[in-house]
């Protein structure tokens, strides 16, 4: 992809990381402005009793503004800020998960360890560039330590269920989400110093896929995919939204170390795993008896409602890239 400037052909691929970032952000911001304008217009036009769907759409657009602001902050302020932002996201996501999960007195100590030890440690390991421990800390040491701590308290009622819930919460909200900024751990030859762009790529494709699946589903959706788990997911939404998101991801190949074809493959992987994440987490949520992760705060979905697809897409994307490119 090339653009014309007054005198020369500047290949987009040769731009600096900063330059690429602001080109993409410029596009995203224009889209968001357009989306906000449309949302505002729809809200004004709709009858007050039919505003529910539109207000939900506007809520999503607002969440996007927040995410874009956070991403800009990451780029302007660097890797430490990025890690702090994501650590906070993990913190609030785990708080949401724990709130919906029934816990007992005996779960207090393992939960304290999750919040005050596991979160800082996991993100510190990324900052310290310690891939080996980053990858196994929670799934190996955490997996074994947490139930042992629960056992110490002597409360054996529903022990397996309780341990499982804590493990799931920690894996999803801390381990999996931390894989998004962990792309900074990838040292790809010829792509040094640009790893935050890879994070931008991942998050953009995941979120655009979410939005387009939602939009395609609302416009053309007829066949429900899994009505019990997630009534809003349709085959038309998945195919239409997924393919469009893959196309957009492919068109963004110039911010990645991938070829256009490679970028198409990566986008497809992100879209499919993101979809599976949304589906699986929706099932988890419903088995906990809630419709939204954030039902606690009226009018807002929870942070996990926005990050559910990232939970699955980030680790898979990371390991595929690491295997194929790093």
């Amino acid at each position: 992809m090339t653009i014309q400037t007054s005198s020369t052909n500047v290949s987009m691929q040769q731009l600096s990381a900063q330059g690429k970032f602001w080109w993409v952000m410029g596009g995203v911001l224009s889209l968001l402005l357009l989306a906000s304008a449309i949302g505002w217009w729809l809200h004004r036009r709709a009858a007050p009793d039919k505003r529910e769907v539109i207000d939900n759409l506007n809520m999503r657009i607002r969440a996007w503004w927040v995410m874009v602001a956070v991403l800009c902050g990451c780029f302007l302020l660097g890797r430490v800020t990025t890690l702090v932002f994501f650590a906070m996201a993990s913190f609030f996501a785990l708080r949401e998960f724990t709130t919906l999960t029934p816990t007992r007195r005996g779960d207090h100590l393992p939960l304290v360890v999750c919040f005050y030890l596991a979160i800082p440690l996991q993100y510190w390991l990324i900052g310290a560039d310690w891939y080996g421990l980053f990858a196994i800390c929670i799934p190996v040491y955490g997996f074994l330590l947490l139930p042992a701590l629960t056992a110490f308290t002597g409360d054996i009622e529903n022990f397996l269920e309780r341990s499982t819930k804590i493990q799931w919460g920690l894996m999803l909200t801390v381990y999996c989400i931390s894989y998004a900024p962990a792309v900074m751990l990838l040292h790809i030859p010829g792509y040094e110093g640009q790893s935050l762009l890879l994070m931008l790529y991942l998050l953009l494709v995941v979120q655009i896929s979410d939005v387009l699946q939602y939009v395609f589903g609302k416009l053309f959706g007829k066949h429900k995919l899994a009505p019990k788990v997630s009534p809003s997911k349709t085959i038309e939404g998945l195919v239409g939204g997924g393919l469009s998101a893959t196309a957009i991801g492919t068109a963004l190949w110039w911010i990645t170390p991938f070829s256009p074809l490679g970028s198409a493959g990566m986008s497809l992987i992100i879209v499919v795993s993101g979809f599976l994440g949304g589906l699986a987490l929706s099932a988890v949520k419903r088995s906990l008896g809630a419709k939204d992760w954030g039902t606690m705060i009226e009018g807002h979905g929870g942070i996990l409602d926005r990050l559910d697809s990232v939970c699955f897409a980030a680790p898979i994307f990371f390991h595929v890239v690491r295997y194929a490119y790093a």
């Binding site: 708080r95 816990t103 939960l111 606690m296």
Partner: protein, 199 residues
């Protein structure tokens, strides 16, 4: 002032403490908020859930044996939420234990009290002690507002040092009044039900 702001920020980050006004609206009328008591965070959560304007004129009643020993806790109680101290130990206090509360009410402040007297491990409150009754009798014009704090018993159960972050909702229920001649037990039971119905 800065202490209060920081304190509210910390409480929001740890336990959310979002207020939901179900039975009444926020008002600057003089009030006594009474709630179920299951953790040391209750005082802070209820106080933080109030709109900033009401917070400055609302003082939580805090047990002297827990909050009154200086240190970080004492600093938070004195400069953060301006505690009204209550002596729970009958052997060390002299005079009416409710006197500091009445002084605060006479000065025009609103109060936050936990009529169970001590923390319970359960989601539903235990029987109420009589302090609320005496205050209701002596201050018939003060509105008594029932409040229910959910999930906090899981956040910081008895015997734990650190709170587990959870989203707690603070539900404000209806206003209550002592009916002239109403028996103590009946009134306290009515007050407790007003809290229970929010659970």
């Amino acid at each position: 002032m800065i202490t209060s702001t920081l304190l509210v920020g910390l409480v929001r980050a740890l336990v959310g403490a979002h207020g939901r006004w179900i039975g009444c609206a926020p008002s600057s009328a003089q009030r006594i908020y009474f709630a179920n008591h299951s953790s040391h965070l209750d005082t802070l959560a209820l106080w933080a859930a109030l709109p900033a304007k009401l917070r400055t004129g609302t003082r939580p009643v805090a047990a002297r044996d827990y909050w009154g020993h200086g240190g970080i806790r004492g600093f938070v109680a004195d400069h953060g939420f301006r505690a009204v101290y209550l002596d729970r130990d009958a052997s060390t206090r002299d005079g009416d234990p409710l006197q500091p509360l009445m002084d605060a009410l006479d000065a025009g402040d609103s109060l936050i009290i936990f009529p169970e007297g001590t923390r319970s491990q359960e989601a539903l409150p235990q029987a109420f002690r009589s302090g609320l009754f005496h205050l209701a009798q002596r201050y018939p014009k003060v509105e008594l507002v029932a409040v229910y704090l959910d999930t906090l018993h899981r956040s910081m159960p008895k015997g734990s040092l650190l709170p587990v972050p959870l989203t707690c909702t603070v539900r404000f229920g209806r206003c209550l009044q002592w009916r002239a001649g109403e028996d103590k037990a009946i009134f306290l039971d009515r007050a407790r039900s007003a809290v229970v119905e929010l659970a």
